[in-house]
């Protein structure tokens, strides 16, 4: 067979399209993996969108009311009305409290000493004890805070009734998420996680699989530009991710009540960019390894863990040690999370996120550049 000395542009295009077609067949004929690639994001968005929240709700607490007077009853009523607590009343001794904590049945104990109301009226001072199971420090502090707030509220009520001078009122407005939905924080994060993970994992494994089975060699000895070969592997996953993106957005808006305050077009454009960044990362991983197992493990270490930890939707980045904060800057999902939040929740436009967009673009070019170089050296 005679290879033409000069490949015409249309021929190159035809070759490229035939590669892409082949890749589409590969992907769409593997039913099991396909199920996962489409099913996974759906399940995850629904599950995590509804379930993940850093609110503390439904906490079981015990109130030891040794006074049982009008004040304690008023406070207990307020506590019951708030959706944070499930209340049982029982007068427990310290050792009983410890036992209950050890059994894990309750998280907090509020103790009203005897003569609570009497002291409040006659000495203008009364004490309440709050004992928290601080195994989970977050829960402990938050619950203590909720309870303290409610008690402070009661105190304020008392004061108001007495018309005390020099009163400072505060008016509070919750912005972007007035209902304080816990899930609002998480959904853009889950989006970042799901889109990133699938693209990285699938691309890297699919390329490495080709390497392992030896068919990559065949492709590489052909006169076709090897880089086009590799790009053609990424394209089906790009479309797959776009479909996933659509599904995720639909679910988020209609099922999870997420707003899209800003421009949907902008969101889709930015998401596409992010998907390409993820695919480039997958490409890079594939150049680093020759076994599927290794590709998988590196993808796991390189995408799942950092994304979960350093994107900022589960753990607040500002709390991390400086070193980790710096590392978080090279995790692409972190930037996408900011972009998604800005567009969806804050309703901002491109002017607010051009910096983050530029960073993602830069990362993409860098990843592609390194991948191409590594790829070429492999052939040399």
């Amino acid at each position: 067979m005679n290879w033409p000395e000069e490949q015409k542009e249309e021929n190159k295009m035809k070759q490229f399209i035939s590669f892409v077609k082949k890749e589409f067949y590969h992907v769409f004929r593997d039913r099991k993996t396909l199920l996962l690639l489409f099913g996974m994001p759906v399940v995850q968005i629904v599950l995590f969108g509804f379930a993940l929240t850093n609110e503390i709700k439904n906490s079981k607490i015990v109130i030891c009311d040794y006074s049982k007077d009008i004040s304690t009853r008023a406070i207990i009523d307020k506590l019951e009305v708030s959706k944070n607590f499930e209340i049982k009343q029982a007068n427990l001794s310290n050792s009983e409290i410890e036992k209950a904590f050890k059994e894990g049945t309750i998280k907090l104990v509020i103790v009203f000493p005897a003569n609570f109301n009497y002291d409040l009226n006659h000495q203008n001072k009364a004490q309440v004890q709050i004992i928290a199971d601080a195994t989970d420090p977050n829960t402990a502090t938050t619950l203590t805070m909720y309870a303290s707030n409610i008690i402070a509220d009661y105190q304020r009520q008392l004061i108001q009734g007495q018309n005390i001078p020099l009163q400072i009122e505060t008016e509070m407005r919750m912005i972007y998420n007035p209902e304080l939905k816990g899930t609002t924080n998480f959904v853009p994060g889950v989006m970042a996680l799901v889109l990133f993970l699938i693209s990285v994992l699938m691309t890297s494994v699919s390329i490495v699989k080709e390497k392992e089975s030896g068919t990559m060699e065949i492709l590489l000895v052909s006169p076709f530009n090897p880089f086009l070969v590799v790009i053609s592997k990424a394209i089906p996953y790009f479309f797959l991710s776009l479909i996933n993106l659509t599904v995720i957005l639909l679910l988020s808006v209609y099922l999870l009540d997420m707003p899209i305050e800003g421009s949907i077009l902008l969101l889709i454009a930015e998401s596409s960019l992010f998907i390409i960044t993820a695919l480039s990362f997958g490409l890079l991983i594939s150049t680093l390894t020759s076994s599927q197992q290794a590709a998988m493990l590196i993808s796991l270490m390189g995408s799942l863990l950092p994304t979960m930890m350093l994107t900022g939707f589960i753990f607040p980045i500002e709390n991390m040690p400086k070193a980790l904060q710096i590392i978080s800057n090279i995790v692409p999902p972190k930037w996408y999370y900011i972009i998604a939040k800005s567009i969806m929740i804050k309703g901002l436009g491109f002017s607010a996120i051009w910096k983050e967009t530029l960073i993602l673009l830069g990362m993409t070019f860098f990843l592609l550049f390194v991948s191409i170089k590594k790829f070429k050296t492999r052939l040399a």
Partner: protein, 373 residues
């Protein structure tokens, strides 16, 4: 029995000759245990605040310094433009805006009441609640101080105050790392036990050596045991390194409860999740499939395991799903035994359920695994 011995010899040799696996066994504990607890600090601190002071009086400046002295807040900006504050909130530079109106001090003294305005970035609901609660508390204290200064003592004494005394048991210093590390240990051995075990079997499927096993007198249960036991041992080993080496030396964590109890539960847990690994390998013909499945389950297990978010806060139906998550149960046990010193009677239920999981998953796996098509 002899057959099993030969099988185990082969499996161990193969595992330790695989550089990827060896690297993992060493790297995974290190990375997960060292880095995740560092990252996982939920404490609400370093709240960024912008103070828009239109008054610039003694009062307002006093209030500002009180807020900053509390230690909860970091000052993003001290200005007199609410619009500027909102812009800062848009770019995530500030979490809270406190606006002090013009003539705040004058109005308060003359009319006996004045209003402060607080805008809170509520995307992170908990942070918003906590931040606003801190600010409110400081303002209330500030308010009380003003009264003490300006009002005659008789008037002040009539103001009722409820003093809250709070105590934190089992973790006096509210150390997040002590809380996270036991949970991460569980995550660690789940990956080693289920994940790697599944891949190992599928690798054999892919390379065809499984056919060879199918033709031999090796029975179903031998083969499965031959796959489970090595990873069970490795899981125990990795756990021990994590608990005794890293947790103790780096974080100073010493279990308050019985170590025997922990290891007993660990043994059962490993068996249960290996069952899951087996099931994954049964349903996958290629490593790519096994990986996708494993990834999926891993993510669900991690995020629904109570490791990062609390299970009790989930909606009812989600809590039921969490109940089906073996990870959640073990994480709970670890936290209870390590931090509180809970005993066997406290985790009786957990044991029962884990045993149930073990029987269920492994039966499913075994029934599923067919040597003959």
């Amino acid at each position: 029995m002899r057959t099993l011995r030969f099988l185990l010899q082969k499996e161990f040799k193969q595992i330790f000759r695989d550089p990827t696996i060896l690297r993992l066994i060493i790297m995974l504990p290190v990375i997960q245990l060292l880095i995740i607890p560092l990252a996982a600090d939920y404490e609400i601190k370093n709240i960024n605040i912008t103070i828009v002071d239109n008054d610039r009086s003694t009062f307002s400046q006093n209030l500002a310094s009180k807020i900053l002295a509390s230690g909860y807040f970091r000052l993003t900006d001290y200005n007199n433009s609410f619009a500027a504050g909102i812009k800062q909130m848009e770019s995530d530079k500030t979490d809270l805006i406190l606006e002090i109106p013009r003539n705040f001090e004058k109005n308060l003294v003359n009319t006996n009441t004045e209003k402060l305005f607080i805008a809170v970035n509520a995307i992170n609901g908990t942070k918003a609640l906590v931040g606003s609660a801190y600010v409110s508390r400081i303002i209330a204290q500030f308010n009380q101080n003003i009264r003490t200064e300006l009002l005659p003592p008789s008037k002040i004494q009539n103001i009722p105050t409820i003093e809250i005394v709070s105590a934190n048991w089992f973790n006096r210093f509210l150390n997040y790392q002590v809380f996270m590390v036991p949970g991460i240990l569980v995550l660690l051995i789940t990956v080693v036990g289920a994940f790697m075990c599944a891949l190992n079997i599928v690798k054999e499927k892919e390379s065809g050596t499984i056919e060879q096993i199918n033709v031999t007198p090796i029975r179903k249960h031998h083969f499965i045991l031959g796959k489970l036991i090595p990873f069970w041992i490795i899981g125990m080993f990795v756990f021990s390194i994590g608990l005794f080496l890293i947790a103790r030396l780096v974080y100073g964590i010493v279990p308050a409860g019985s170590i025997l109890l922990i290891y007993s539960f660990l043994s059962v847990y490993l068996l249960a999740i290996m069952g899951i690994g087996l099931i994954i390998s049964n349903y996958s013909n290629t490593q790519q499939q096994a990986m996708s499945l494993a990834f999926f389950f891993l993510m669900v297990f991690i995020l629904m395991g109570g490791l990062f978010t609390s299970i009790e806060s989930m909606p009812e139906w989600a809590q039921w799903i969490a109940k089906l998550n073996p990870l959640a149960w073990f994480i709970d046990v670890m936290r209870m035994v390590v931090m509180k010193g809970s005993g066997f009677s406290d985790i009786k239920n957990h044991f029962l359920i884990m045993a149930g999981f073990t029987v269920f998953f492994n039966s499913w796996a075994i029934i599923n695994y067919k040597k003959t098509s």
